[in-house]
């Protein structure tokens, strides 16, 4: 009940256990304050994070489980922010992957304190963001989408896109162009011609 009043609109709440954690130095663009919570970081109304350094985990494998137990079933999105600071991480990560399934945690790996800080900032600042930018293809200007369209087959690059369009004027003409004619464009070798023609002529469905 005390939490609600203290929770500023844009502050990350940090457990006092995290005092001295170097990642705090990298939470720069948002305010943060200490608070008494079962999680390590509170990143929003329904989001919390536990922090684990693999180096520490190797020494105290039981630590994280006691923390998870303490967390109970609170919060909707429960991040386990893991700092990969040892080289033989395979075993630990395998075990933690399993744990994440059982305890409903979402693993996020980071490789530096800086990256960790950035993740915390991102989670907090995107709290109310809409996922639109990862939801659908980005609207772009005509030339960008044009270039992107033409360069979809891997062998074709920007220069080829330029020569293609400048030779034909419209995309439609370029799509309808016969392969022999395409081969006349400087820079368009057989492979490119073949890739382009098969990309635009190949059926969407394998079978009809």
């Amino acid at each position: 009940q005390a939490l609600a009043s203290r929770q500023g609109p844009s502050a990350v709440l940090v457990s006092t256990r995290q005092k001295g954690n170097p990642i705090l130095n990298y939470i720069r663009s948002l305010p943060w304050e200490y608070s008494d919570t079962p999680a390590d970081y509170i990143l929003g109304a329904t989001t919390c994070a536990l922090f684990l350094s693999l180096k520490y985990h190797r020494l105290h494998p039981e630590y994280i489980y006691s923390r998870i137990r303490a967390l109970g079933k609170m919060y909707n999105l429960r991040i386990l922010l893991i700092m990969v600071d040892i080289t033989n991480h395979e075993e630990a990560l395998r075990e933690l992957s399993k744990t994440s399934m059982i305890n409903n945690l979402t693993l996020i790996l980071c490789w530096s304190a800086q990256e960790a800080g950035r993740y915390l900032e991102l989670f907090k600042s995107y709290e109310h963001a809409s996922p639109a930018s990862i939801r659908a293809h980005q609207a772009e200007s005509y030339r960008e989408s044009l270039t992107e369209f033409v360069t979809t087959p891997r062998s074709i690059n920007k220069t080829d896109a330029a020569s293609l369009i400048s030779n034909y004027g419209t995309l439609r003409a370029a799509i309808n162009a016969p392969p022999e004619e395409l081969a006349l464009i400087p820079g368009w070798g057989e492979k490119k011609v073949k890739d382009w023609c098969s990309a635009v002529r190949e059926n969407f469905r394998v079978r009809n």
Binding site: L93, L105, L109, E115, L122, Y142, T147, I175
Partner: protein, 960 residues
Amino acid sequence: MPAGSSTQPPVKLSLPLQFQQDLYNLLRAEDLLVILARGLGLLRIVSNLLHSYDATGNSLVIVVGAEDRENDWIGEALAEHYAISRSLQARGLRVINTEKASVPMREKIYAEGGIVSVTSRILVVDLLSKLLDPETVTGLVILHAEKIIATSVEAFIVRIYRQFNKIGFLKAFSDSPEPFISGFAPLANMMRNLFLRKPSLWPRFHVTVAQSLEGKKKAEVIELEVPMTESMRAIQNAILECVEVSIGELKKANSGLEMEEWTLDSALHKNFDVIIRRQLDPVWHRVSWRTKQIAGDLTVLRSILHSLLSYDCVSFVKYLDTVLAAHSPPPGSTRQNQSPWLFLDAANTIFQSARSRVYSGKVDDGSVLPTSNLPDTLRPVLEEQPKWELLSDILDEIERENYFNPVIRDDSNGTILIMCNDQPTCRQVREYLQTMRLKATKPEENGTGQAPHEVEEEAEKPSAEFMLRRKLREYLVWKRTFAQVSASLFEENQKSLNGIKEASISNNFRGRAPPNKRRRIRGGGAAGTNPRTANGAVSAADEKAAQVANLLAEIQPAGDETLVKEDVVIDDLTEAGDDFFELYDPDDSLVIHPYDADMDDNLLEELRPRYIIMYSPSSDFIRRVEVYRSSHTDRNVRVYFTYYGGSVEEQRYLSSVRREKDAFTKLIRERGSMAITLTDTGAVDPQEAFLRTVNTRIAGGGRLAATAAPPTVVVDVREFRSALPSLLHGRSMVVVPCQLTVGDYVLSPSICIERKSVRDLISSFKNGRLFNQAETMLQHYKNPFLLIEFEHNKSFTLDPFADLSSISTLKLPENDNKDLQSKLVLLTLAFPHLKIIWSSSPYQTAEIFEELKKNQEEPDPIRAVQIGLSPEEEAGGSLVGGEQAGAARTFNPIPQDLLRCVPGVDNKKLQRLVLEVRNVQELANMSVRELDPLVGVESGRRIWKFFNRSVFEGEGEGEA
């Protein structure tokens, strides 16, 4: 001729040479990995071997790893053998290479037996689903053995095959030794992957090979070195300088990588840019946009280098123009993101010299610049490729010889064969030969390079002037529109470089001294005199309109030109593909053909040429001629081998020969020292291994029911491209291939996994596919996972090499230039219950899967397949062969990716279009009215506009 060692009527073979027979006999006797030098006719040996099995009947031989062309080759060869030997059992080659071959069809083909070539991805699925029972296979013939690494699909196939079939034969072939020598004990590893014990190496310097080819029937080879012209040499040197600088930049920017091999020397090697890309690929998500840009530059530079030698001067300039347009930033841009090589003096040299080969100002001091106020007239120079003249000389010589010493009667035709690198070169040579006798200029006007006194003579020197003038006319017309096009098209092309560039660019330039300042100082001195932009990069030198008009007037059709139709080339095109379908007398025909690897063998056999002119060097073609010559006692052949002296072309040729030789030497040494290690590769019996895992499981106590069945993973058939299914199988899990709609792997009724390599992850964030996949997984499974898989032994981190500090100026979610981390955050916020698995390699993924599966029920393949299907599809969804349900909805990925780029197409519309429209071409040709019922008027109009907007009209009605 050696006959097959069977008791059947002898199989007729066509292996005239000693080494071929030796190799064949070896192969009949035991299982081998054969590495043969390129050009010695590997496919001929393979097809003879296949025929010997084909002719005996009652066999099912599977050919793995053959490309389409090889399938064609082998198919043809087998048919020929069949015609010769008339063995009743032979059935020829059958090919299964697309999903079009339906399951019943495949089953039938397998049941009938014979020689079947199957695409690896289909074969592995069929083997796993027991559509093809491994025990019924007589033997496996593997082509391109060099591609078989431990995690490849082919290695997987061999493993399954050997697991169930210990007696069938297994023979692997390769004609490229180079890949076998990288890494530690590479040959031994390769042999282990192939479950083979004995390698057999056949370099060109092998005694038998040398004896077979260097007997008294040696081919006559005449080497002709042509010097490059002054300007060509200048351009080549300049390009090499640019390459060197680009490599230097790469090294500087990526200090953490292995780069000993990034030298100019290796830059001459054919696939240099590919090698660099391959090295960078695993860390592609971490390198800065600048590195990406330079890697792209190297590709461009390499292709410029190539076109310098193969294109005529006009096409070369045209190509350079496009390169420049695609690489230059909008005028007045402050962003310093141009390719570094464009800032070099050398780049300037490239463009200047290239242009001066085509035309120059009358007062010749490089005054084609728009800034200078020197004379307004340009004059065509039209430098010819030196090889052209040489070519016509050779043809003259041949003609003369034929005239003076008519016909040594032998079995070869009088045909002259000209071999070039690629189709465009063929076309160019053809046009040259057609037009070299045509006079372009009226005699009195002749001041354009050719010695004037010769022009009027009957035996005029051949000249490419006619052709080049035509090209120049085309070029000038094209150029006029191009300026506009590039303005409307490429102003902001830099934006599309990549997604995270924006973030890191600000980052890169904030901390350090602003690079643009430095550049400006460097380029500033030259700005007045060079055709450069303010920031020092090369810019297109746009000639004044008057100058161009003048030039155009000068090259207006004159003399013979007016008599000949303008579109000579276009007429030619229609027959371009059918070179051999000529009804001319073969004795005086001239055939121009590109190199086509193994197909060349057939070409030689069919044409039986008396003379061969190699327009560009090729080491394997020489060998083919040797083999051809040695195989036929009664055919004489003379080879003219032409190359530019001191050129990249020459060095490339020499280094390819040397590299092959080195590779073989190394392999021979390794073979000498590895014999013992291979005898015990018999591997642990997989069944034993399997039992062991089950036992430990039961020892854990708990749920015996789950352990009674072998651990099973349902895998989407599309996932067989990756290494993971093979590794899962290697960890003794049962891999069930299915056509999944939701997820890639199903581990238990509640666990579903979508696998993404880092590259996939980036692209599927970009086009929104991942969001939808996550959505559907959540709908159907209790525990959906996103697996982010890194590459084995490669950097396991998302950190970019550059530091993050300045990205921390957080951007609003609307801003679309965001890095991977923030997208990941958005994804987890949107789907709190989506779990993420981070795996450093496919090996670790396999272990994690095993861990996750513990104490879980086994998945039900039928259920897994049906999930996500709409009800009516579900009704039809059966599980024949383990992969059938919804097979009708197998989609081709690339056309779909194209579709995703079209503005106005979102996911829902995409689905609709994919179902209703046949292909991209059809969509491009649809009218708004036709599109309306599918996607609505609004999107329909946008789609239509996208395809039909003309870049010539410049900026206008376009949407933002």
